[in-house]
């Protein structure tokens, strides 16, 4: 493939052709999958992106868009014969309209940078994926990113108003508007979470929210994971929607305590963190209610943060969970299934059985409020066969999630990582519909090929049984 021609549209230094300069971009945060891109381009204007896309379209060259490369599912894994289109230079906040509570930003702006920029107006951008210090808004839209506060404040799709995109043909289009509803089919919803398959996002208008004036965190310890799960349902049944509701199992608590000494009760089978926000009066009343409820549901200990600092300390443990796990194993593999909350205890006990079967330890941290699990499978890539075993273990966890009415990915996306499991969650007709939708935007299939939606042939080779939304053929049989 001749990529030299791209220098017609871009300065020489924005087209990387040498192997050592391309190798830098061989993977995103799913580092187990690596491909050296055919060519890397770093445009800094809309016109340059249009020109690159037009050229690729005319010459049938695959294009993979990439932001900060923090994605966990290999969505930005390069294509060996394609162009890796890096949007990092689009890092400007174009407009902040505090009165309308919106900000218009370029795709390479970091998630946290938006909240920092609007702080002086007492506003913030709600979705807060754990990588928010590094991940960029373009990638957040492509993956429909969540975070710890989405139970109350929603996902990316609930917090954006308008996108400017460039089609594979190089056309610049505006999707959505600064009004709340827009005419025609809801392309904004379709684009959100479409994993770079439909077009390249070049500008995002996000909604901003007033900063809640007061917030507090409760920490509850349980001697039984089922009681912890039931207490989550109990809080919600009582009409309370916490800002965040996180759970961690014993292995997680121990890893965190060894790492940062957050003061978590290490003897507990599970701990629950519950954040409440709003006005001070409101939060204080709700804290009392939640404390009583947690005790009723069998918490052996409930601590209420006395002040903002202690709230932060409670959170510190949860936020350090991944690096803490990184200390106890050479490698870990993070899964992302979502399940109906009522099955939490059942799923965790099955994950533990799988852990014995695959002889790999697992640590469970998850967004309990919305049933989004993040089992971290511990392995050592240096030991032959362990990565394969970890992947097989992960795949079994995802099948388990689908079989009880959940999904294979809550917020990390399908990418290359979970492409086989898509065959388990969707029927042939459904996958075919996804392909038709893709063709509506990208007939030649040049944008991010091989990601997000498997071909029907691939599913046949994978040999997976489509599990119909929790209606297994033999629901009584245990399936791991």
């Amino acid at each position: 493939m001749n990529f030299d021609n791209l220098r017609q549209f871009l300065p020489d230094e924005a087209v990387l052709l040498s192997e050592e300069s391309r190798r830098v971009y061989e993977c995103d945060a799913l580092s187990a999958h690596r491909v050296i891109p055919g060519c890397v381009v770093l445009p800094d204007s809309v016109e340059q992106v249009q020109a690159v896309l037009r050229y690729c379209h005319a010459n049938d060259i695959p294009v993979v868009a990439r932001g900060a490369g923090t994605g966990l599912s290999g969505g930005a894994m390069p294509h060996a014969e394609g162009v890796l289109l890096i949007l990092a230079k689009f890092d400007q906040i174009i407009e902040i309209d505090a009165k309308q509570r919106i900000a218009r930003v370029q795709p390479g702006v970091r998630n946290l940078a938006i909240s920092d920029a609007v702080k002086s107006h007492d506003l913030y951008y709600a979705p807060d994926p754990s990588s928010q210090i590094a991940c960029t808004i373009g990638g957040n839209v492509a993956e429909n990113s969540g975070g710890v506060h989405c139970l109350k404040y929603g996902l990316t799709v609930h917090n954006i108003l308008q996108l400017k995109i460039i089609t594979i043909e190089g056309d610049l289009l505006t999707i959505g508007s600064h009004a709340l509803d827009s005419p025609g089919y809801d392309l904004l919803a379709l684009f959100t979470g479409s994993e770079g398959m439909l077009g390249v996002i070049i500008e995002v208008t996000v909604k901003l929210l007033p900063k809640p004036p007061y917030s507090r965190v409760l920490l509850a310890a349980f001697d039984d994971i089922e009681k912890a799960g039931n207490s989550v349902a109990g809080i919600i049944a009582n009409g309370i929607i916490p800002a965040g509701l996180e759970m961690m199992d014993k292995a997680g608590v121990r890893a965190v305590e060894d790492y940062i000494h957050a003061g978590y009760p290490v003897e507990a089978e599970a701990i629950l963190l519950c954040e409440l926000d709003g006005t001070e009066d409101e939060v204080l009343v709700t804290i009392d209610k939640v404390e009583t409820l947690l005790k009723e549901y069998g918490a052996i200990e409930v601590r209420v943060a006395r002040d903002e600092n202690e709230s932060l300390q409670f959170w510190a443990g949860r936020k350090a969970a991944f690096p803490a796990v990184g200390r106890i194993a050479p490698d870990y593999y993070c899964m992302d299934g979502t399940i109906p909350r009522k099955h939490i205890a059942e799923v965790l006990s099955k994950i533990n059985i799988l852990s014995e079967k695959y002889e790999l330890a697992v640590v469970n941290v998850f967004h309990a409020g919305d049933g989004n699990l993040h089992p971290l499978i511990l392995y050592d890539v240096a030991i032959p066969g362990e990565l394969k075993r970890a992947e097989a273990f992960g795949s079994d966890i995802l099948k388990l999630c689908v079989s009880i009415g959940g999904t294979i990915t809550g917020e990390h996306g399908v990418g290359v990582e979970k492409i086989n499991e898509m065959c388990v969650q969707f029927s042939e007709d459904e996958l075919q519909q996804f392909h038709e939708v893709k063709a509506a935007f990208d007939k030649k299939g040049l944008l991010n090929p091989g990601k997000a939606v498997p071909t029907l042939n691939r599913c046949a080779e994978f040999g997976a049984m489509h599990v119909h939304k929790g209606h297994d053929k033999f629901p009584d049989l245990e399936r791991f």
Binding site: K99, R101, L151, P183, L187, M197, D281, G406, M422, E436
Partner: protein, 352 residues
Amino acid sequence: MEQKIITIKEQIETAIEQRENLKIVGGNSKSFLGRDIVGSKIDMSDYTGVISYEPTELYISVKAGTLLSDVNKVLSEKNQILAFEPAEVNEKTTIGGVVATGLSGPRRPYAGSVRDFVLGISCINGLAKNMSFGGQVMKNVAGYDLSRLLTGSYGSLAVIYDVTFKVLPIPEFESSGCKQTSRQEALETMSELSVKSFPVSAACYYDGLLSVRFSGNKKVVKDSMQNFSLQEMDNSEQFWSELRNFKLPFFNSEKPIWRLSVPSSSNIGFEKDDYVIDWGGAQYWLASERPANEIFSLAEGFGGSALLFHGGDRSGDVFQPLSKGIFKLQQNLKQAFDPYRILNREKMYKTL
């Protein structure tokens, strides 16, 4: 597969063979919406019932023909609501129509829209393929978000037969207040309400009167009412329900009724026409004889869009005309779901 689903599939298969148009009908309570179309009926009104409702999981799954009033009743028994406050136009309004039209009520700017609360949809496309997208869980990014794409597609992509919504607890306390004021001042107050952390759940300006509803903690609601010197409304429930259900006296106008969705900062003045401002300034209801083109350009000028809601010429443009590039994508999507253009053909746009 339920008999009803088999019947719909057969209807579509026959329509493909005979190149016949199909018109999807529920309770017919919103048949005045969209363009006038012809076709054999797919009647969803006999496909009813709650499939599953789990209050602690915050979701409800219902069949499309289920009456909205029945869904609201089931939810209220567990102190929960559809937070996007859909219109019950009459007693026959079905949940399928709510999703197909995607119209949200007064709570929309503060709680979210119909599509924000749709978690999953089962449907049959124009090739008679039976499919399910999304599910019952809040967080789900497997595959394209087709359940949200189908919301508000006026039945022109697929026949929606089951829908799962996220539901929310009924607010602990609600109170509404009002005051006589100018449009300018009303819009300024609405803006202030959204920028600060007030528990506002509806804000409307009609007939010289600003009405605001607060929902949440009792003390916070009362303090907010005081903060804006609002006088407690004695008919608040009736007022919000009339606004939600298009029953305010304004909606009896003989003139065509338009709905404008615009940025909340628009501040549009109408000297001759009657209007209602809802959604904290982001939605205008307008009764006007002005030509459609004029209204469309007006809305576009403010960065928004217009919909000919009631009356007027239903054979012309009813929805805001789209730019060439965006319209091409709409046509491609129609092709992707319904290549023979059988389902609700021309309901949204003449060539869709």
